[in-house]
Symmetry: C2
Subunit: 261 residues, 2 copies
């Protein structure tokens, strides 16, 4: 038993060395990713649990120059899209199951918000196992949160039919940079025992002290003529008016793809 | 270069042995999970990338008998909830950032659908890294998709305030069973090159042949007096009327938590 626990601890440690040193990589070497390797990673990521084991996701692999050029504007022309050998767009997909059911005398009813969330959940869990496997294999990744900002442009570029909706984009390649590790909040800020404990202003001071003190963050505040780091997020990066506008385009795209009435 | 690639392949293989043999575990031994181990896993999972590095999630740890009893009905009294030493409820959380902003003269605007999806994405990616790390460490897990079916019951049990919404539940413990590996669709069913290729009826036959031929699935069809396996999903497990009803309660809970107007 003692040996067994020591063995487990050793495995834990080996694994965690990798996760602990991961960073988002936005610059890639000229080296391509061999299709066999990419397919193996995708196939292994599919061991991730899904709703009823239905695997409610699809992945579109973009390798072509034209394909990347078509996707780039949807991601605000961030240079990773055209700079990476591979771009993956991971979609919530109830189309395949719906087609299966229609071919088999079933009565599918997945044109609704719950089903979208079920498929988005499957897609995002799959995405993150892929990220962990790919990073473990030495690849570098950038997760593009812009995917749900302008989904219609992605839907058009990738010819996504109804009941297929993009929820994540990864740019993938062999790293040509090793950026510094980014900061994280202390664990007590996001872990709650038994019930949720609403943070007090004193908690907030403690949780955000390190982030607010980082020289690069102080510099952001200075060059943007703001008083606080939080204002960088609320007044510049993720504003109320942008969020409200993008919520409308997100709802509209969900409606067009058949997930909202 | 050749050595380097061999080395990478070896790492890949070591990692993948674990992911390739994972299975959902619903029965746990009496052994507890030490708080230090759980905290280390949660802290390491927090290396996962998030929107603007804001970590838009929270985790509620339930260890108490009363706490599990309060959660169980929300999960249709599936026995894992009360049978596991630890239940984790992972929430999309824009509350902490909103409170931070309000303490720092910011103007937060995260009471909308886009912000819910951003936080749900962060929460689900974090959840899956936790799953990968925990399984790598020898723990067994069950992901409960029921979390978004009756979210209000979970919100009440865990005292979740506005802008906090449960998106995933994990029951976690040391495995007391080793169920058989479950089937997966062939990769060509969910991987598309350059654009989405809508499956034809012939594709569907090919993609679902293995699943439909499994003895346990044929038995499901028989004992339920159905003609096809797809009908098990559409007519019994995930029906149109249930999905529509649960979509309404999901929307209602999102509204009450402040994410929908």
């Amino acid at each position: 038993m003692y040996l067994c626990r020591r063995f487990r601890s050793r495995i834990l440690l080996i694994y965690m060395e990798t996760i602990r040193t991961r960073r988002t990589v936005r610059q890639y070497s000229g080296r391509d990713i061999e299709p066999e390797m990419l397919h193996q990673l995708l196939n292994d990521a599919a061991r991730t649990q899904t709703m009823g084991n239905l695997q409610l996701y699809s992945v579109i692999i973009t390798r072509s120059t034209q394909g990347k050029a078509a996707l780039a504007p949807a991601h605000f022309n961030q240079p990773m899209v055209q700079g990476a050998p591979v771009v993956l767009t991971i979609c919530a997909d109830f189309r395949r199951v719906t087609t299966w059911a229609l071919c088999r005398k079933g009565n599918p009813g997945y044109d609704n918000l719950l089903s979208f969330m079920n498929a988005a959940t499957d897609a995002l869990l799959f995405t993150q196992t892929f990220c962990n496997l790919a990073e473990e294999s030495g690849l570098g990744l950038c997760f593009l949160g812009t995917t749900i900002y302008q989904p219609q442009a992605i839907i058009d570029a990738l010819h996504l039919p109804k009941l297929v909706f993009p929820v994540a984009t990864l740019t993938v390649g062999w790293p040509a940079e090793e950026p510094p590790l980014s900061d994280r909040l202390p664990m007590e800020s996001f872990v709650h025992e038994e019930t949720y404990h609403d943070p007090t202003p004193e908690d907030i001071n403690k949780f955000y002290a390190e982030k607010e003190a980082l020289p690069e963050n102080r510099e952001f505040v200075r060059i943007n003529n703001k008083e606080t780091l939080a204002q960088i997020f609320t007044d510049i990066r993720y504003t109320k008016s942008d969020n409200e506008q993008l919520s409308r385009t997100l709802s509209e795209a969900l409606r067009r793809q058949g997930f909202l009435q």
